[in-house]
Each structure stands twice: as C-alpha cells, then as structure tokens.
Symmetry: C2
Subunit: 313 residues, 2 copies
C-alpha cells in the first residue's frame, strides 16, 4: 500500500514540473455556508487539473528501459492530457485511446502535448481492447488513471501541499471517481482530520461500495460530472474503506448550484466534477458548521461553449 513517504517522494520528484497551486478563500461564501472553506486550486494546475501530479510521478518513476517505448492510457479527459504532457516533458511517446464521440476540444488538448490519439468505439470493452492492442503494437507502458500506486502517490501531493498551506483543518472533502485523489489524500492526512468523499447521486458506486463494504464494479453513471464516471479501483477502495469518514452524495442540481457559487463568489470556473465538494458541504451544513474545511478544486477545463447549466436548467 502507498505510504506517506511515497507521497513525499512523489512531491520531490514532480515539483519541477507542476505548480504549487494557491489556496483561495471567500468571506461571502464562508458566510453562506457557515464554516471556513479553504479551496486548493488544482483548476490552476498545469494542464488544468490535479491529474498532472499523478501522471508526472508515474512517467518520471519509470526506469529508462520501461520508458523508452512510451506510455499509453485510455482517457478522453484530464488524465489523457496530463499523461501526454508528462511524456512530452520526459521526451518519450504517448498513445491515448479516446472514444470516437469525444469532444474536439478534449482531443486538441491531448494533441497539443504531442500525443498520438487512437480512436475507438465509445464502450468500455472497445477501450480496453484498443488499449491492449496499442500496448502490444508499441511496447508502451500502460499508466492506469487511478488504480496504480504511483498515480495514487502523485495525486496525494495536492493534499500534502494543502495541509502545509493551511493549519488545523478539521476535515477535507475530495471528489471520488476512480479514487486516486481520495486515496492519496487519505494517506497524507493526520487521522484527526476527517476525510469525506463527495460523489454525484447519478454515479454512486463509491457510496454503495463504502456502505456495503463490497466493491461495486458495474454501474452505468449518467452525470454531468464527466470526471467522476469511473468506478472505484480496488487499491483505492481498500484505502477508502480504512480511512474515509463518509461518502456524501449530491444531486445534479446541487452540483450546478455549487459550480455557479464558485464562479460568482470565488471567481473560479471549475468543472462539475470539482463542484461536488462544495455541494456536499452545502447539503450537510450542520456537520461542517464552524469547522475549517479543505476542499480540492480538481479541474478547470470548462468549455465556454458547453456549460452544463445552460443545457440542463
């Protein structure tokens, strides 16, 4: 299992290639919510998301022999762009398998970092089959988006920084998709700090896994939080089960409301997947009342032409 020393080592490894992102606050938002909120702005991270941390850690940890044929993954989102960027920084190839219905803006971001894109049908099976073929053809090393110790250690560096930037946090609220960021955060936080996972009701596999103690691997999510559609990985689930206080569910409308509040009050336009944390605090105000609460704003890659609240309300 990943240790806090792994996260510290990851932080030293990735520091030259990532931003130490700022922590932002808003008095007016604190007044609305009734507690003290500290936002770790990974939306301002390189490539626009915390995924840069894990990707750089994974790519720069590879021995020369494993790295020389490049890296590969399947992702239409931030992990794909982050891995492409990390590979470019190390000077190796990257191969990103992307469903053929992915938005052009997402593909452009991946291409901008010099990756080769391989399109496939938009099903999990097609993704996995295509990735397997790419790995066989190229000899590239597969970097899993979350169920990977190096990725978990890399993502944990965001919370590591936050805990150094802000004293005496009572709790930490982190979105859960595959669980890389959640697991990494749980590893670095002192046991006195309560860790909460925030998840959309429409993609509640982490909630059901946590409540039943049995990992849910099959589900069909339908949420505007496109970064949280994956199911929790097994490594991530084990850490979550041990260290997380609760999984807090939020509705799609609560996500939109939180996204708008972050926009108008904090002046940060974040992805719906990032807004789940504030939505979870708003829905559980009594639990957080008067507390010092850290929230990780995970990504800022919001397409101006595709705001989720335009089409849904």
């Amino acid at each position: 299992m990943v240790s806090i020393e792994d996260v510290t080592a990851a932080h030293a490894r990735i520091a030259p290639y990532i931003h130490k992102t700022p922590v932002m606050r808003s008095e007016r938002l604190d007044n609305i919510v009734g507690c003290n909120l500290f936002f770790k702005c990974e939306n301002l991270q390189k490539a626009g998301a915390f995924k840069s941390r894990g990707a750089v850690n994974a790519v720069f940890s590879l021995p020369e022999k494993r790295a020389k044929n490049g890296v590969a993954t399947h992702s239409s989102g931030n992990h794909g762009a982050a891995l492409a960027r990390a590979a470019q920084l190390r000077g190796i190839s990257s191969y990103i398998v992307v469903p053929n219905d992915a938005k052009q803006v997402k593909k452009s971001a991946i291409l901008a970092y010099g990756a080769e894109i391989i399109e496939c049908e938009p099903t999990l099976k097609a993704r996995e089959d295509t990735l397997e073929r790419v790995v066989l053809d190229t000899g590239a090393h597969f970097v899993h988006p979350y169920d990977d110790d190096l990725i978990i250690a890399g993502q944990g560096t965001a919370a590591l920084e936050l805990l150094a930037q802000v004293d005496e946090l009572d709790s930490l609220v982190v979105p859960v998709g595959g669980g890389g960021l959640l697991a990494g955060s749980a590893i670095v936080a002192h046991p006195a700090i309560k860790i909460y996972a925030a998840e959309p009701e429409m993609a509640d596999d982490a909630y059901r896994s946590f409540k039943t103690g049995k990992l849910v691997t099959q589900h069909i999510p339908r949420t505007i939080c496109d970064g949280l559609q994956t199911t929790v990985g097994i490594r991530n689930f084990v850490i979550m089960r041990d260290k997380v206080s609760d999984v807090l569910l939020v509705s799609e409308q609560e996500v939109i409301d939180a996204m708008r509040l972050l926009w108008t009050r904090l002046k940060q336009v974040v992805e719906p997947s990032s807004a789940v944390t504030l939505a979870a605090v708003l829905r559980n105000q009594e639990a957080f009342s008067g507390k010092r609460v850290g929230l990780i704003l995970t990504g800022g890659n919001v397409d101006p032409d595709n705001l989720p609240f335009r089409s849904s309300i």
Copy 2:
C-alpha cells in the same frame, strides 16, 4: 496632481481592507502571443474588481466630519459595489444612484454591502440630477468614480503591487474607461516602462482625445465592455497625455476572443472590460514580441447567465 507618494500612502491606508492579488502566468498563452505576460488578477480583488482600491482610499481618507453623512455616487457597476463595501467597512451610509434598467445581479451586489439604491432614468442627465438631489437631501459626500485624486491614487496601488511582484517589466497594458486606473498606473511606473491604454473601438474617446490632444467629452459608446463606457476625466487626461505611450484600439470580436483565451488558458473568467488588454497585445504582437508585459485584469464580475459571446457569435 497625484504623486507616487500619494499612491504609496494610499496603499498603506487600504492594505487592511483589500487583497494583495496574485500575478498569474500561462506558458501556453505566452507561446501564442510571443511574449511574457504577467496578469495582475484584480478579478480576484474584494468585491471582484480593482475599484475596491480607490473606493477604500477615498472613504478612509475622509475626515470624520465629511464622512458622517455617508458617501454617494452614480454607478451600476463595480464602483458602486466597491463604494458601498468601503462605506460599510467604515460604518457609514452609502447612496448609489443606479439606472432603472440595471441588471438585478448588479443591484443585489450593491445591496449586499448595505447601500441604499436610488433608481433613475437611464440617461446621463437623469443620473447627475438624481445624484445632486441625493447629495442635497442627505449631505453625503460624492465620490466620483475616476475624476478624483484619491480614487486615482487608490487605483494606482494595483500597478504598485504588480511592479513589486514582477521584475523588469518592459510595458504595462491597462484598460481605459474614465482613466482612473490608467492614470494611477502611469504615475507609479518608472519612465522606462511603456504604458499602453487599451480601449474598445466602439468607445474610442480616449483614443481620439490622445491623438488630437483635446479631451473628447461627448460620445455614445456601444460596447460589450460595460466598464469602459465612460469618457476620460480631465485629471486623468492630463496624466494620460504626459505619460502614456499609446492608446491601442480593439474590436468587439477581439475582446471576445481574448476573454475566451483567458478562460481556457489562464482559467480566469474576466469581464470584457478586462480582456481588452490581452486583445490589444494580440493585435500588436510585433510591438510586444519577446517583451515582459504586465496586464491588469480589472474585474471578474461576469454573470454566468449573460456571457457576451453567447449572444454575439
């Protein structure tokens, strides 16, 4: 005329009540533009705009006797909210004259700071007449939005901070509406730093005043840059004529393109009035090539339901 010492004094006076805003950069944006851009993020300022600086300086400079009946102004924008906030901080009343077609979101921001709103017809004459009546009725002190030494000194503190945060700037690009920020910035910058004003073609009074040497006071602006619709003040014009290298015009479409670039690359959603600076640099790339360029992002009060590029492209 306002001196650099006035700006330094203003900075000490307002420091407890404003944010020292961060300077942000984007490698990808630098590559697009071909120079090194340093963005002073006044969009993250208290009340969402640099106007907080001048307003706090003006309100906290008033002797007790002048302050006791409160302050007044006419503004449907950031100056109104900033003045209301400054008055609330000092514990005095504020009266803000607002045209009756102003958006509810703007009025709500002003009301949230405890101001009294007085509505009037949406003409300059009605604004001035209404303000005069308010001042006569209440004894409040009128704080002009830009043609005022204390306001100019206060706004100059943004550039003062920027110049302390970033070494060896070659030039500074500042939006011009009434000219308060421009004049304040020009006062604090070393003469070796070129000062450029950026202005929409559709509100080109500063440009015409600068080129002819004769202050244009009458014009009918029609621009999405709602913060830049005012004509330059006389104090501001005198400073501009002495210290500004050039006034750079930009089209409405260039403003929109720049706003979108700031959104997608810098992850900052700024008002169109703020995006004019990047638009001006993009339009004059050869002049800025390879240079270190400071830009002030003046405000971040963008209504999620009224993005300018939604309706115009």
